[in-house]
Amino acid sequence: MSEEKHHIVPYRVYVFVLLALLALTFASIGITSIELGEFTVAAALIFACVKTFLVLTYFMHLKYDKKYIVAMVIFVFAIFFAVIVITFLDYLYR
């Protein structure tokens, strides 16, 4: 946003992100305390993924980094996801 040199993230951005992360943490504690059966796992993981996105984007500065670093991170998550899918396909259909 500002000069090319180095983006200085304003403090309030970090405070807002922290508040969002804390809210999501307590929301995930709340939602998993309700009996949702199979959906408990899904709900907990969705909250964790949203939190991960916030940490990667703001705390780890990916929002302000060059795009190829973002691409690297997406690539790693894509590999990880592919391995999960392949492993579970094996276990579900053996």
């Binding site: 964790a48 991960t52 790693v76 990880f80």
Partner: protein, 206 residues
Amino acid sequence: MEQNAHGAHTHYDAEASKIGMWLFISTELLLFGGLFIVYSIYRYLNADAFHLAGEELNITIGAINTVLLLVSSMTIAMSTSTLQLKKKGATLGLLAVTIIIGLVFLVNKYFEWGTKFEHGIFPGSEHMLNEFSQGEILFFGLYFVMTGLHALHIIVGLIVILFAVVRIQKGTVHENRAALLENAGLYWHLVDLIWIFLFPLFYLIH
């Protein structure tokens, strides 16, 4: 990240440092990723036992540790901003807070594990072998390995931050040579990131 403030004798390339750090973080993500896959498969195969064993864990301690790590992630992220703004004192203060929170996390972990040990829950204990089912033993095995490996990362992260503190104090890390602090921050956030998944998987999902 282009900085031209090269020292007279030392090479400095902030962008290369950042790429290197991200490559390292990638390997760490895949290391823990592999463990998460092991966990999911065993959970899938031993759903009831994992459900039962998960209730042994104390959500309150887990939640406190989550809050601690999230706050410490914010303080170290802020310290990268204060360093850019040439506020050395504030930077050191924020890093000190980060280190203290990290230590408190470890103390909590010590008491949490200690309670488990007192109840006879630790890898290879007689109590577990006699009383617990195969699935419960697997759950606690994974619990100790994954939270233990995570705690090890906390210790390493604290040491890295301590290096950054010393270098900032000496003035060799400053607004034009911030890579060490930036990378220490990235590492600390990685530790936070892993905990974001460990907490729901072990403490919350019953």
